[in-house]
Subunit: 117 residues, 2 copies
């Protein structure tokens, strides 16, 4: 696990650790939305929402595309998947633990058959 990967993981998990940002992700994964269209949905200032969008963009969870005076945000599903794969990696670590426990059980039951249930 490289230093850069860890920094990226920090940014991704942190970006998703806020309900407003998760809600923005749902909207921009469903389709393009301008920053002001998004801002209209929440009970906070335009600047606050714009900052949330900037956090998501920096983490790579969404990209922006200029269209006239609007900035259209679109969710990047690949970034979402990269987070999912980090969790899968964690789950693999756990599987290794279970596999080791199973080996121990197999050892006991083959060398000491009396220990079977």
């Amino acid at each position: 696990m490289s230093e850069d990967d860890e920094e990226r993981a920090d940014a991704l998990f942190h970006a998703l650790a806020d309900r407003t940002r998760r809600d923005i992700m749902r909207r921009v994964l469903a389709g393009e939305h301008s920053v002001s269209a998004l801002a209209a949905k929440y009970d906070m200032s335009f600047a606050a929402v714009q900052k949330h969008v900037a956090v998501l963009e920096k983490a790579g969870l969404l990209t922006k595309r200029r269209n006239g005076r609007e900035q259209l945000a679109s969710g990047d599903v690949r970034a979402v998947r990269s987070v999912a794969s980090m969790l899968t990696e964690l789950e693999q670590v756990w599987r290794g633990r279970i596999a080791r426990i199973d080996e121990l059980i197999a050892f006991d039951t083959t060398t000491h058959p009396d220990q079977e249930d």
Copy 2:
């Protein structure tokens, strides 16, 4: 999505948004470790590590079991999977978007065959 679920999601993503805590998760998913055994692995005070463990425990990512004077921490893979399922849910939103786009293309090509590539 209930208020409680969002609060839980906040706690889970926030807990994972720190590299020390992710590293602790790798260790405790691989097997039980006492808090001091964990603390010995990092270049920070015992109290700092103990707080990281407490954050993970509050989020439900690990559980502790007393054994004499030690507190053995063990990773809970179900919590990891619950985070993964939140991401799957996000990906489903994106799939819906793609499905809608596909429908539009199908409509165009069946009603206006001239528009095909």
